[in-house]
Amino acid sequence: MTRRFTALAALAVVCAAVEMVAGRGMSPGVAWDVLNGGGDATERHILFHLRLPRMLVSLGAGACLAVAGLVLQSALRNPLAGPEVTGVTPGAVLGAVAATALGLAGWDSPLAVVLAACAGGCGGAALLWLLAGRGRGDPAQTAVHGVLVSAVLGGLTAMVLLVEPGGLGSVVQWLVGTTEGRVWQHWHLLWPWALAWGAVAWLLAGPLTLLRCGDDIALAAGLAARRARTLALLCAVALTAGAVAAVGALGFVGLLVPHLAVAVFGADLRVSLPGAALLGAVVVCGADAAAQLSSRLLAATLDAGRLTLPVGALTACLGAALLLVVVRRTPSRTF
């Protein structure tokens, strides 16, 4: 197990290193030079004030989303409950967009955006809870209802955007999820939030493992199942809201990274929760590096200067392919 953790940590470091040199501003040699203390002012600025915070934000957001997904899946005992399909992410997007449009929160006051995203995420989850009603025992049914809730929330977001068309360009990037132009301010906002709720999730790891076994067993072991579940849901929503406020609605990370984590680290959450955090960080950071590299390649081949591939598009495509594998491999009785 320790070996797996080390391997994963090494992978994370490699991803981070690739991320540092993948951008198009300067070559790897120059980047190395800057790290050793050389380089001129522009290069130093690019490396320390653009690339470093971007790398950190992508690592942190990936970890947040993965942990939130694992907590949700364990608390609801539903292999298909990611934050994307339970209405949490669309709700958070709606909250953030609406608060910005109403003037309650500007992009220059990030804490208000996070709080609004949090409220929206709670609203989305509550809507699903109401809608699923008695059928909430059936995982596939809940997932399908979640898609419906996402459609409604997406419609609302669209309305808000059309009433306030000013910032459509930047918001569209944010809707698909991007790490473009993240600076230290975002990181300073993200890490305390992520750390606090990550600690809560870590404390909840034991009860969540029990919840995974079923309510009866959890009750027999002396756990207040309802209270633990509510706390876990709150924690998941808060983590998702933080990640969404920082990087936007990254597709499918929260749904599929937990599956990978459970496959690698086993079902004991005390081990697999940190594992999921590492894995999520690796996935998002690696996807971001790949997106930067491929957009560089594309720009070179197509000769289109302003083409950038948002990382969210890459994770969505990857996640869709993985979801197909998961759905196909699972015997039909489960789904």
């Binding site: 298909l80 399909v85 809608l131 009603g133 596939a140 049914q141 997932a143 399908v144 209802h145 898609v147 419906l148 809730v149 459609a151 409604v152 997406g154 419609g155 609302l156 669209a158 309305m159 955007l161 059309l162 009433v163 068309p165 459509l168 360009g169 569209v172 990037q173 809707l175 698909v176 597709g251 499918f252 289109a304 083409l307 950038t308 591939l309 948002p310 969210g312 598009a313 969505a316 495509c317 996640g319 869709a320 392919a321 979801l323 197909l324 759905v327 196909r328 039909s332 789904f335």
Partner: protein, 377 residues
Amino acid sequence: MCALSLGTPYVPPHRLLASVLDGDTTLAGIVVTELRVPRLVLALIAGACLGAAGLVLQEALRNPLAVPEMLGVSSGAALGVAAPLVLTLSLPAAVQPLLAIGGAALGGGLTLLAAGLGRSPSAVLLTGAAVAAALQAALLVLMVMADQLDLQLIYRYLLGSLSARTWDDVTGLWPWLLVAVPALVLCAPVLSVMRLGDEDAEALGVRAQRARLAALAIAVLLIAPVTAVCGPVAWVGFLAPHLARWFNPAAGAVRWLPWSAAWGAVVVGVADVPARLALAPVETPAGAWTALLGVPAGVALMRSGGRGRGRAARRRPAAPTDAREPLYGSRRTASGTADEFPRAGTCTEVRGSEPGRGGPSGAVPPASGTTGTEDAR
């Protein structure tokens, strides 16, 4: 009527006819004939197509949640339309529906291929959601590449907007409808057989897989031209069949088909009014309203239908439709019959010319015996 008279130059209902007759001479006449009438006609046609396509899909896959949005059909069609717009390829207008059809077929085919045809409904839906998400991601990449002005246009289009559509758009739809409607009429009896389950359908001589593919093809044919003109108006294909079922729970698929089309037309026509007027100077897209109102209403109907079907079947003679019809009364029945008439006209007209050509696309052989009765009805 509301759609025709409300708006910035308010034309009172009693002067509508006069202004239409006046034609080009007055402002009201121009506004009504050149802007509002084509818009209304387009809304009704689009709604009817989407409603019928939704019913075909739901019946063929025997799945109350199989809607174009969830099968990747709508996003595929939208991708097909948006791609040349962003990449600034200049294409003749006639190619656009073809591209939409290509995209829609790609999305739907991919979903069914990946899910496997005989799998359980939820697996198909989740696969469809994944395919739709991937296509959406491709769309968003396109949107990021576009500049600000194009972006507004595309975003509006992607939500399904009926703004500023003229007679040209309406006439562009007719050829596709001429192909799709007879195929639909031929397909309806097969659908009611498919409802019995694959094995029973096979026993009755319907090749289930092939019929399902044919149904998908028809749905694509219905959805893609509409999407090419006014964007993916969301969730009409979900709401309309459930409305049709709820009001007439005991009928078969054949009976539901025209009702579903009529309800679809009503839904889009009604949703277009708040879309124009709710936030008056800004025009909101109709698709946002249909998504907003359609999904909760559809889910509520589906749930109450599941519970109430047994009850309704028991006391069927005192049909629940009769009890509720007076409430909604004149307005809905009026609009229902209004768009029923031209539809019936085209059906018979096309069928008249059909034997000479020996049946157009997608005619399923075992169905031909029963279509006679269907047509007589």
